[in-house]
Amino acid sequence: GFVAANLSAVTQATIAQNLEAISKTNGWTIYVSNSAGSWEMMNNLVENYVSKKVDLIVVAMGQASSLTSSLTAAKEAGIPVIGIDSEYSDLLTADILTNNWEMGAKIATYLVDRLNHKGNIIVFKFDQFYGTRFRGKALDVVLTEEPNIKVLEVHHLPPAGFVEDAQKTMESYLLKYGDKIDAVWCAWDDPAYAVSLAIKAAGYTQEDMFVVGIDGNERNIKMIAANNTAVVATILQPFGDSATKAAELIQKIVVEGNSPEEVIGAVRVIYMDAPLITSANAQDYLK
């Protein structure tokens, strides 16, 4: 079983597709479900899979602390649960993570450096998911050391319709501040893309203001590589690798029958590397 928090987010969709592809080559059966952004729905889905007596459950972008009841049920039924970016918890057999603090700090320092430690920025946050929240907090910490960088506005994105919301809001900010804006920070790549559309429509270029995001989805990397839009940097979350890693664990635990402790070891967190992408190296990451 595979349960994603919100399959309409590009990232989770990527993981799901990778896992589906791998299971096809390995001859496993995989069931994919979407909890559409609701932790309670995710609880229900995990419990449904426990009822179904699957061999292993993968939870993507979940929040382990909110899944206590269902994870307990899985544990009681002896079904291992692998988390992908789902917060550390005792109840998870393993969690494959990209480090959100690290990514947040990386992109924040890049932004600051590119601004030459001086300028006005706009911030698009999303605090309802712990990962994006951590990134925002990392930015805040970095900015405490930057007296010459002024945050003009902080906008919080809604959980639905965030692309259009980011675009609309940026349009309003562009009217209000014009070219006073030097850079825009986005909690992930989708709003960064939307913001760049607004900047382009208003007739500004990369030199007037730039945008950074996190995730490294293909569209944004292409834009960075082309180097003619406002999108200048992102952090690549290696979702493909996460899926491969999860598959590897599944192979060892379910197929080969090893005990989870043996496979994973005492520390059940597995960190994946997340490189910074700019126009300098974007080409390397395009397949």
């Binding site: 399959l7 059966t29 069931y31 994919v32 479900s33 979407n34 559409a36 952004g37 609701s38 932790w39 309670e40 729905m41 609880n43 229900n44 889905l45 419990e47 449904n48 899979y49 009822s51 179904k52 007596k53 929040q63 602390s65 909110s66 899944l67 206590t68 009841s69 307990t72 946050k125 999303f126 605090d127 309802q128 712990y130 929240r133 919080h156 959980p159």
Partner: protein, 313 residues
């Protein structure tokens, strides 16, 4: 329309539910296990409670678009209060009171300022979301909760989760209140004809406000259970319930008291939704097909009741 037609109209939806259950039982091995059935009941308990509130306010003809936002806000408030050191019972009471307050305001807007229930509750829901974010800034409320709080949704008695018992109590209480008491009768009469009720000396305004209060209070109570289940106050935990609550209430109107909102019918509606959600996952249907199947099954289930009047419009 003949007798059989009438029976179909009244119990068609229930028959459809039975049909769905039989189908899943045949198609899968695990569906018809007591564990799974309890599983389903526990999954629909919150939906049933929040949808019961919706149903009650629909009986005199109103509607509540704020239930989901109020439930989300309540989860945040109840957990904050508990972490502030208030007792579990007191915290829940205050939170439910807050939900009731939303109902009072909605009721006043609807009956005094004559704002349509749709608009009034949409606006109040937006306000509830704002208050929610003001409190939480989008962050969950997390900490060490007393066991008595977590027990509500995480403990089992006789193998059955506590929330299922709560759901049962809510269904029984509100079915009784709506079908067997004066208040319920009068709320139905308002829904049937405001004018007739008003001319019969029924306090139409008061009872419509009461309907909104019950809806708000049950939404808040659902938020508390949800917080217990998630072990934290999630700022958007309740948001997914609006559509399902509407669906359950409208499905409910196709059975038992046909054409009128009714509490046992709403439970049937919630069961249909719960059984479909669970059964499709157990069958291992791919997730996008789950959506398609869910929509199709609901339409089929409701069509069974449509041996309707012979009028041609």
């Amino acid at each position: 329309m003949n007798k059989i037609g009438l029976l179909f109209q009244k119990y068609g939806t229930i028959l459809a539910l039975i049909g769905i259950v039989v189908f899943f039982s045949i198609m899968t091995e695990t569906f018809l296990t007591s564990r799974n059935l309890i599983n389903i009941l526990s999954h629909i308990s919150m939906l049933t409670i929040i949808a019961t509130g919706m149903t009650v306010c629909m009986i005199p003809g109103d509607f509540d678009m704020s239930i989901a936002s109020v439930a989300s806000l309540s989860g945040v408030i109840v957990t904050s209060l508990i972490l502030k050191g208030l007792g579990v019972f007191g915290s829940i009471l205050i939170t439910v009171g807050m939900g009731a307050l939303f109902g009072v305001i909605a009721g006043i807007l609807i009956t005094r300022l004559k704002i349509s229930a749709f608009i009034a509750t949409l606006a109040l829901g937006t306000i509830a979301t704002g208050i929610n974010f003001m409190f939480t800034r989008g962050q969950e409320v997390y900490g060490i909760f007393p066991d008595s709080f977590l027990a509500i949704a995480q403990k089992r008695v006789l193998g059955i989760p506590v929330q299922v018992f709560i759901m049962a109590v809510v269904i029984v209480v509100f079915t009784f209140a709506m079908e067997k008491t004066k208040m319920g009768k009068w709320m139905y009469s308002i829904g049937g004809s405001v004018k007739a009720s008003f001319l019969s000396g029924i306090n139409v305004r008061l009872l419509r406000v009461v309907g909104m209060i019950i809806s708000g209070a049950l939404a808040a109570f659902t938020g508390c259970i949800l917080a217990s289940r998630l072990g934290s106050g999630q700022p958007t935990a309740g948001d997914a319930y609006l559509m399902d609550a509407i669906a359950a209430s409208f499905l409910g109107m196709t059975t038992i008291k046909v054409g009128r909102p009714n509490v046992p019918g709403t439970f049937v509606g919630a069961l249909i939704i719960g059984v479909i959600n669970n059964g499709l996952v157990i069958m291992g249907v791919s997730y996008f097909f789950q959506y398609i199947a869910k929509g199709a099954i609901i339409i089929l289930a409701v069509s069974m009741t449509s041996f309707r009047s012979s009028e041609s419009f």
